[in-house]
Amino acid sequence: MKRILVCPFKEELISQINGKALVICLDDIYKIEQVVDIVNNHNKLHCALINAKYSLTAISFQNNWRDIPIALYVSDMGSFLELVPKLPVLRQLDIRIYLSENIEHTYTNIMLLSSLGICTGLVIDRINSDWEAINDLMHYAIYGKSSHAPIEPFHYIASNYNKNKPTDFGSVYFENPGKYLHVNEAGNVALSDKELQSESFVADSLNQLDNIENSPVYIERINAWREYFIKSDGCAYCQGWRVCLGKFSDRPDSQKKECEKFFVDLMEASEYFQSRQQEKKNLWQL
């Protein structure tokens, strides 16, 4: 299976890659046209992953970014009134705005953006997540009758949920070894951004990419989830396992019941979402 490579915006590195789909990480959103020019020569831009250190309202969105897939992490939403003039362009873009749960008012801001037609994603990165607030947001995302833009990871899970097999929503954050591989400037390959940062590589160079599935390190890492079944109180025994897949196993024990409840609710919501999709009749077309 062809993996999508997540790599920094370095021309030298990109020139060594050929015929791949790339997620390009950069800090400066104003360089994305340059990214498109460079990547699309010999590869295909899957998405520009921008980790902006500023608020959403500080960005001057351009009409000619319309066809560029953008995943934008911002430090906060900024003032609503400053956002309003940007909405007409923002709505035209192929963009998803990611907000961390560490930011004040994130849940409300995500609802607000979504209700105005902007796709959003919640980054669940707090050690003490407010699972009740996340659950509320999930209810809005899935059960909300009013038309609003998708909110991730809820929309991804609800769309891809299958009660007979696991659903890994890591793809929403480019963190799914089955789909994404992370590459650093030196060409080292890891299965996640975290592992890339801690230098837990599965390959030392891009040349090993085609054979990576046979690498023992890769196989060991990809099967690491089995460990959860060995532990007597592991996440694998939780009802929410099929969707959570142990992503929050490092959280304090006090959180465990709360995240379990959330994921159980999410699975129920996903079944509801899919039953609603099936209700939609596809009429014949002329």
Binding site: F80, L81, V84, Y107, T108, L112, L116, Y140, S147, H148
Partner: protein, 333 residues
Amino acid sequence: MPNILLTQRCVRTCPYCFAKKHMSESLSDDMLSWKNLIYIADLIENSGERNISLLGGEPTLHPKFIDFVIYLIERNFNIVVFTSGIMSEKLLHEASTILARVPEERLSFVCNLNDPKQSPIAENESVKRFLERFGHRTSGGFNIYQKNFDIGFLFQYINRYGLKRNVRLGMAHPIPGLKNKFVAIEEMRIIIERLFSYAPTMERLRIKPGFDCGFTMCLLNDTQLGWLYRLTGGTTKFGCGPAIDIGPEMSVWSCFPLSSFHKRSVFEFDSMNEIRHFYMELHKKVRIEVGGIFEECDDCKYREEGSCQGGCLGHILSRFQNEANIRMPEIYV
């Protein structure tokens, strides 16, 4: 059109205030949150409605007043803001800069005006500043609570500040269980006579009176009805129905005078229609017991046909306050 209360706080203490009971039972610092606004907007949108009134207290006291208006405009709602027009110069400047960009047909104001002779000078000055900026988007509103009222100032304001040439005229109604100033039933005909003494001025200035709820058709004689028909094209209603007010803490009730009458939570309903139906049914039950504010209402063919509702339910429920509970249980506050 549902009314959303942005805040319970108000800058005035009008003697007739029909929001008094609701305010006294609520936390004065309650402010509508973004989350609740989005919920209400979704509910109204799902109900297929596009018009919203923003009320208070004084809605402009909400720290996010301008943001909320712009948000609802972005959601394609048409907004009417009911305000006293009393606000800080800073807010007025900000509002006139930002809200000026919204098309007039999407955003308008109803300014509840009190007689300037009975209001503090600072209040009058603030209202004038508001009307100077927003007069062209504003209809004047006046609540009648005493027999010797004077609405001459309304016409001056309309001409001086370019207000819309229609005025909203309301009668202060009793709040069951609370003492507020209101127009007693026996005073209503006097009120109407006084109101019609302004008819020549209204006609000359082409100003259309709009009756708020609680007026009955029989208060007007045929000449007055004919005049009203000619001036307004027959749009006058003699209604009393659920207005639907939604509070900042997500409670919902029929209208301000009936704010204690089966107050519920918005979360109990799936649509505005459901809410309206719920209160409509309660109104009907009361009307089965007592048709209207006059004894004649019971047999009135105009009430039966729906041309007149029989006056404000607040009067009827106030009457039930001091009697033994012998009627249908639902109608007791």
